[in-house]
């Protein structure tokens, strides 16, 4: 089975992965773990007139890798194989799109990611994923 863990670099999100690692022994078969970070597509419109795509991609990659850092270190420490992936787009839609492409059996995510004011006012990625996903979604508190 493939388990997708979307991460935004927040401690909350990382707890979902910690949960997967802690409970992996309870599964009959070691699952394939897929890590995903989605970068908001901030470089649109006129930005592309002044900055080349290579620089834009480097920017997304740097921020994406930062968000995945903790999870990768934890998986390396547990000596578990995994895939990691960075997409650029709108988080909820991109998570579901990747889950569909990879035909994952389960999405594991924390109840909330970043817990700042902005996240509170603008609602959560989680509720949108729940609405759009075609596979079971496990929420970690």
């Amino acid at each position: 089975m493939k388990i997708l863990v979307p991460l935004d670099g927040s401690d909350n999100a990382n707890r979902a992965l910690d949960f997967v690692i802690a409970n992996i022994a309870t599964l009959k078969e070691t699952p394939q773990i897929l890590l995903l970070n989605v970068q908001w597509k901030v470089a649109v419109g006129n930005v592309k007139l002044f900055i080349n795509q290579e620089t834009i991609d480097d920017y997304y990659r740097e921020h994406g890798m930062k968000a995945l850092q903790h999870a990768r270190a934890a998986l390396d420490a547990a000596n578990l194989p995994y895939h990691y992936h960075i997409s650029v787009g709108t988080p909820a839609e991109a998570i579901v799109q990747y889950a569909n492409e990879q035909d994952v059996g389960q999405i594991v995510m924390s109840k909330q990611g970043h817990s700042d004011l902005q996240a509170k006012l603008l609602g959560s990625v989680v509720s949108k994923v729940l609405h759009l996903a075609n596979c079971p979604v496990l929420l970690v508190k």
């Binding site: 470089a43 002044f50 900055i51 990768r72 997409s87 991109a94």
Partner: protein, 247 residues
């Protein structure tokens, strides 16, 4: 006099209009500043961002007052209104994906600052025109519009993206607002003054029609393009467990 101005509801409506226009039309400046300074050596990066933001703010102030004095000339309100209609329609269109032959981010401080200033000149035009139109020559509204837009030059533009993701109608409200403001500019054009003075209802009919026009044209063009915005895959890598201590 000043107190009187604050007390009218028209003033607060104008304030809201300006906030909305600032919010929707100043998103990309912050991104360009961050990206243009990326390839600078660490020590110069802060300096680049500081000069970049400072220059961008200065440029925006100059452009705003330039725009206001230009709009006082005959015929130019007509041109400004047409431009605003187009800016409104463009807001509703989905993103073009094809890459342009753009400049590589400079590794020198001067080059990075030059990129930021030139980019800001181009990207501020829509914002400046929108605010100038909504302020209708009222200097305190104009300064207010400038002050609101300054933190948005320096801030991350993720906020706008998140807002639109959460409340997609914002983009349509914004398009309609730009159309409405363009219509208000049109009826205040000196060329049409004798006409508007007689047919008083034109004061609301023209802006309303312009708002509908922007929405209709934007919707129509967007439907013709009909590109599904999908997430782009950037990095995809597999990490295997080390075979020697596999359990």
């Amino acid at each position: 006099m000043i107190m009187e101005m604050f007390a009218t509801s028209q003033f607060w409506v104008d304030v809201l209009k300006i906030i909305m226009i600032d919010l929707l039309l100043s998103g990309d400046n912050a991104v360009v500043i961050a990206l243009a300074c990326r390839n600078l050596p660490e020590a110069q990066r802060k300096k680049g961002i500081l000069f970049g933001v400072g220059g961008a703010i200065g440029l925006r102030i100059v452009l705003t007052f330039f725009a206001v004095s230009l709009l006082a000339l005959p015929y130019l309100k007509l041109v400004g209104a047409l431009l605003l209609l187009w800016i409104g329609v463009k807001l509703l269109l989905p993103e073009d994906e094809h890459g342009e032959d753009n400049i590589k981010a400079d590794t020198r401080l001067f080059g990075a600052i030059k990129t930021i200033i030139v980019a800001d000149f181009v990207m501020s035009l829509d914002n400046v025109l929108g605010v100038a139109a909504a302020a209708k020559g009222n200097v305190s509204l104009l300064i207010f519009g400038l002050l609101i837009s300054i933190p948005m030059i320096a801030w991350s533009s993720q906020l706008v993206l998140k807002l639109i993701d959460r409340f997609p109608f914002i983009i349509y409200a914004g398009g309609a607002l730009l159309g409405y403001v363009a219509g208000e500019m049109l009826v205040s054009e000196a060329l049409f003054a004798p006409f508007v003075a007689v047919q008083h209802y034109l004061h609301w009919l023209v802006p309303a029609c312009c708002a509908v026009l922007v929405l209709a044209v934007g919707k129509w063009l967007a439907a013709r393009k009909a590109v599904e915005s999908v997430a782009v895959n950037l990095v995809d890598e597999a990490i295997a467990a080390k075979p020697n201590n596999k359990h």
